[in-house]
Amino acid sequence: MTDTTPSPQETTEHHSVGHIVPVRILAATGIALLILTVFTVWIAGFDLGNLNIWAALAIAAFKGSLVVLFFMHLRYDRPFNGVVFVTSLALVALFISFALTDTREYAPDILPGDATEVQKQLAEVQP
């Protein structure tokens, strides 16, 4: 293999395709991801109630953004590629929202599996 530095002419010609992300930025991104992994495990050790879910999801979303923006070059990419990807994420978010909205409508009366709600109602009926 030859590791010769390309001449300026080659640089302009070859690098017209794609964007080169320096290794130090990739390494910094990766270290941030590893630190966030330790952080999410650490924070899951505390009982924060429902906040545990939101904390885990927020950290995962932030980690995912780092992966997409730097590892997948979306920060430097054509915006339309980002539009395609973010659209798919938005559709999944919409899908989850509608499904949860619907299932919560039925939870108190025909889904006794929602134990939290059932117990709350039982406590009111039989104090």
Binding site: T2, D3, P6, E10, H14, S16, V17, G18, I20, V21, P22, V23, L26, A27, T29, G30, L33, L34, T37, V38, T40, V41, A44, D47, N52, A56, A60, G64, V67, V68, F71, M72, H73, D77, R78, N81, V84, F85, T87, S88, L91, V92, I96, A99, L100, R104, Y106, A107, I110, L111, P112, G113, D114, A115, T116, V118, Q119, L122, V125, Q126
Partner: protein
């Protein structure tokens, strides 16, 4: 504008005839890859919807289920995938800089990460199978030919869920920690719905419907091992489905990475043509991305 004769000899080998310029070919390939990745997000998205609805209805079931998972192995696997993502991104940079040796090194490291992930996952799965932790109602059966008991001392209170951990000896003599639901909390995890949706009630006697007296025996499934918390097989249904589908993607990634490594060894890639490395990398990062969400959703919360 006419194509000059000078342009003809600049036409590189990798440029397909239906593209005008390498840049056009590169951007088209990249857009195609992003469209494919969008369908991957939608594929897993349907399963995340299932997870959300089940978790919304049975939050205790998921908290009880995650007790059966080894957080350390999950965290190590997360780190392995992140490290392999770093090396994959570095491989793309090396391809763009025409450094073939470094490209092959980083592709090999990425491949090693992918294999390591699957090996760890294999040990996780087989360990669970030894303990009889299967999806479906087999979850409540003791493993075949197994005479062990999982009774033991109460060692922990998994806060807020009203679960206790029971320690004992498993079928292979290994230490086992299982969660148990005390009888005092019979409605913590209630059976499937009765109503217009008509969920599985066949296995239950008419008297087993959720009674207003709320006795435990009315709420446990006939096939349930009393040492296993009720309904947690549902957690393992979606655990095996989602991690299994992700594992299939890792296995496919191993194929892609091997193909890229062979191509790099043959000198197919250069700073002018690195599209396969770039697009293979995009796929590999999405595999990492999905695991970044699966890990906390199953192992941590």
């Amino acid at each position: 504008m006419t194509v000059s004769p000078a342009h003809a000899h600049e036409h590189p080998d990798f440029l397909r005839h239906h593209f005008n310029t390498p840049k056009q070919q590169f951007e088209a390939g990249k857009l195609g890859m992003w469209l494919f990745l969008a369908t991957e997000v939608l594929l897993f998205g349907g399963l995340f919807v299932g997870y959300s609805v089940w978790r919304g209805n049975h939050p205790e079931m998921f908290k009880a289920g995650s007790i059966f998972l080894n957080t350390n192995l999950g965290a190590v696997n997360t780190a392995v995938l992140i490290l392999s993502s770093i090396t994959m991104a570095a491989a793309v940079t090396m391809a763009q800089r025409n450094k073939r040796g470094a490209l092959m090194l980083f592709l090999s490291l990425t491949l090693a990460g992918a294999v390591t992930f699957l090996v760890i996952k294999y040990f996780e799965y087989t360990h669970k199978f030894h303990l009889g932790i299967y999806p479906g109602l087999k979850f409540y059966e003791k493993p075949a030919g197994d005479s062990h008991t999982l009774s033991g001392s109460l060692v922990n209170d998994a806060g807020g869920v009203d679960l206790v951990l029971v320690k004992g000896t498993g079928p292979l003599g290994q230490d086992v920690t299982v969660a148990d639901t005390p009888e005092a909390e019979p409605t913590t995890v209630a059976p499937a719905a009765i109503g217009p949706a008509g969920l599985a009630q066949d296995a239950l006697e008419p008297g087993d419907r959720p009674a207003d007296d709320g006795h435990a025996e009315h709420l446990t499934h006939p096939l349930q091992d009393p040492h296993r918390p009720a309904n947690v097989h549902m957690f393992f249904n979606i655990y095996y489905l989602m991690t299994g589908l992700h594992g299939v993607h890792v296995a496919a990634g191993i194929g892609v990475l091997t193909w890229l490594l062979i191509g790099a060894a043959k000198g197919r890639f250069s700073s002018a043509y690195f599209t396969p490395v770039d697009l293979g990398g995009l796929y590999w990062h999405v595999v990492d991305l999905i695991w970044i969400f699966l890990f906390p959703l199953f192992y941590l919360i």
